[in-house]
Amino acid sequence: MPVPEDRRYSREHEWALPEPDGLILVGITDFAQHELGDVVYVDLPRPGDRVTQNAQMGEVESVKAVSELFSPVSGEVAAVNEDVKNAPELLNESPHEKGWLIRVKPDDPAELDSLLDAAAYTALTE
């Protein structure tokens, strides 16, 4: 399963991708979408909301179950992927790109260092 090397990973199967403008893009991994099965509903925070590293930030519902989403970083939500709310299948089809969830203005970009790199995350899922 693809694990892009350009980003960091949480043990809860979210990824965090630093962008050139200093914001951090957040989503769930390909492994996570595969385990969840067909996603049918996504509940996300709103722009302006606070998220905290390792704390719940939303929910994702698949045909199997409802699972919690955890934020890999702390900060303020700068943007939310409205496309995913309207077409949750994007999480299955393109978890690392079109299926991104939120864009966060981080309190402390160094928090990323506490996350796993691609190799460590791959080891976690094997």
């Binding site: 385990e35 409802v66 299948e89």
Partner: protein, 493 residues
């Protein structure tokens, strides 16, 4: 047109699936209205809600056949084995129905004076007494109208007790990661902050995690014994001690009481509040089959806060109905779901104390029989003997996922087990045979699962297409959830 032998059958099946709207023919009618004896009145234009009203035009006979056929598609415990984990789909004795239909019970009105319904009140009082005995707790209220309402009522009772002793600041409610989803929902509805507690690798509650939260903010814990993994939690007594020492209270989810009847009382573990599902443990109808009942039993300290009314026996031997002194209030209009209470009372009276022992004994025996016979087919995430149900992980063969195995079971006339729950077990299949199934039924179920396993071994894709022989084939569940079409609409042409 060439005809193959099965064409008429396929047409017949297609015709049977047609909706009532699709059977409509202009001018057909199922009723004969008498001639109008009042002058016609015109409805004012602005009072009209719509231009069209699509009602099916069908005869009485067509309507009867349509709904009779639909009813024949029902799956129920009266027709087939129903091993739906955590739901205790046991056989419901027909005597329950006969007693509940007795005119003295069925025709009683909740507003009748107590002197006219002494028998009804005595029945409620006796059931309270039996449930107190079963739970080992001295206070009982039969008011809650369903399991989830019993949970909420129990948690509100717990909260009222905390508030009354000036400890309303306690807001943390611990809930194990194996809990029924209703537990965190009930706690949140009652205003508590839900904190998830992990289980150990052997499936017991993690006592260190409980200790870490045991402080002055701790309101309590919501706990299921046996757990939803079908395991007897060996840390339950110690967990109750830790929570009590910190000043919290313990809520016991009695959904799995079938495993304990007559053998262990939740009150003796240290639970302060327990709810029971009469529609699981005590054989009243459930699963879309009727109203439930979720009585709660509590310690003496919590009894004044119980929801009401409560049946009481007065000094002169007569029966009455009273609200507890500091009651959290009512759950519904009258004496709970009275007809359901009568069915449960009948069941308990029919079986007696020895019968209670046989229920739990056979429920546990049957579950362990399935565990022993089915373990070659699945992974067993917690390798221990189980109580009344067993949770496997369907991960041995590609294609033989929990979903696909369950779908294929439908082809063989078995209800699917509970799937993908508890969440801590990937590809979970949660199987609860109950005590009312025979050895032959269990063996047929085992043989079917062995056959399904062989099918998956021979062809990885075969199960992905199941079911093949049910009236409706595999549904696109993702599309149904993403783009639901909830009503019939006339076709465009």
């Amino acid at each position: 047109m060439t005809s193959t032998p099965d064409t008429p059958l396929r047409e017949e099946a297609h015709n049977r699936r047609r909706l009532l709207m699709e059977r409509s023919h202009p001018g057909r009618t199922g009723v004969t209205l008498p001639a109008s004896d009042v002058p016609p009145q015109l409805i004012p234009e602005q009072a009209m809600l719509r231009d069209d009203l699509h009602l099916p035009e069908v005869t009485e006979g067509e309507v009867v056949r349509y709904f009779t056929h639909l009813s024949q598609l029902n799956f129920s415990i009266d027709t087939n084995f129903y091993p739906l984990g955590s739901c205790t789909m046991k056989y419901n004795p027909k005597l329950n129905e006969a007693v509940a239909a007795t005119p003295g019970f069925a025709l009683a009105h909740p507003a009748q004076p107590e002197t006219q319904v002494q028998g009804c009140l005595e029945a409620v009082f006796r059931l309270q007494t039996y449930l107190q005995e079963v739970s080992g707790l001295p206070g009982a209220s039969l008011a809650p109208l369903a399991g989830a309402q019993g949970e909420l009522a129990g948690i509100l009772t717990l909260r009222a007790a905390l508030d009354a002793r000036g400890e309303g600041r306690r807001r943390k409610m611990l809930i194990p990661d194996t809990a029924h989803g209703t537990n965190p929902a009930s706690a949140a509805m009652a205003g508590f902050q839900v904190i998830s507690v992990p289980s150990t690798s052997e499936g017991d509650i993690d006592l260190d995690a409980v200790r870490a939260e045991a402080d002055e903010q701790l309101a309590g814990v919501m706990f299921t014994q046996p757990t939803t993994l079908g395991l007897f939690d060996r840390n339950a007594i110690e967990m109750c001690r830790i929570v009590h020492e910190a000043g919290g209270l313990v809520y016991g989810d009695g959904a799995n009481m079938n495993a304990l009847l007559g053998r262990a009382k939740l009150g003796h573990f240290g639970f302060d509040v327990v709810h029971m599902n009469l529609h699981k443990t005590f054989s009243t109808p459930h699963g879309g089959g009727g109203p439930g009942a979720g009585p709660i039993c509590v310690t003496e300290a919590l009894a004044p806060f119980l929801p009401g009314p409560i049946a009481v026996q007065r000094e002169d031997g007569s029966y009455g109905s009273e609200m507890p002194t500091k009651s959290i209030g009512r759950c519904g209009g009258a004496q709970g779901n009275f007809g359901v209470l009568i069915r449960a009372l009948t069941y308990i009276s029919l079986l007696g104390g020895d019968g209670m022992l046989n229920i739990s004994g056979n429920a546990v025996l049957n579950a362990n029989y399935l565990l022993a016979k089915l373990r070659p087919l699945f992974e067993l995430p917690y390798d221990r003997s189980v109580m009344h149900e067993v949770v496997f992980a369907a991960r041995k063969r590609p294609g033989a996922t929990a979903l696909n195995v369950s779908k294929r079971l439908l082809d063989h006339g078995f209800h699917a087990p509970t799937m993908y729950f508890p969440l801590v077990v990937p590809e979970a299949l949660m199987i609860e045979p109950t005590e009312t199934e025979s050895r032959e039924t269990l063996d047929a179920f085992i043989e079917t699962l062995e056959r399904i396993d062989a099918e998956a071994a021979a062809d990885e894709d075969f199960l992905r297409g199941a079911p093949y022989e049910t009236p409706i084939s595999r549904l696109d569940e993702a599309r149904a959830a993403r783009r639901p079409e909830l009503r019939w609409r006339p076709s465009e042409d």
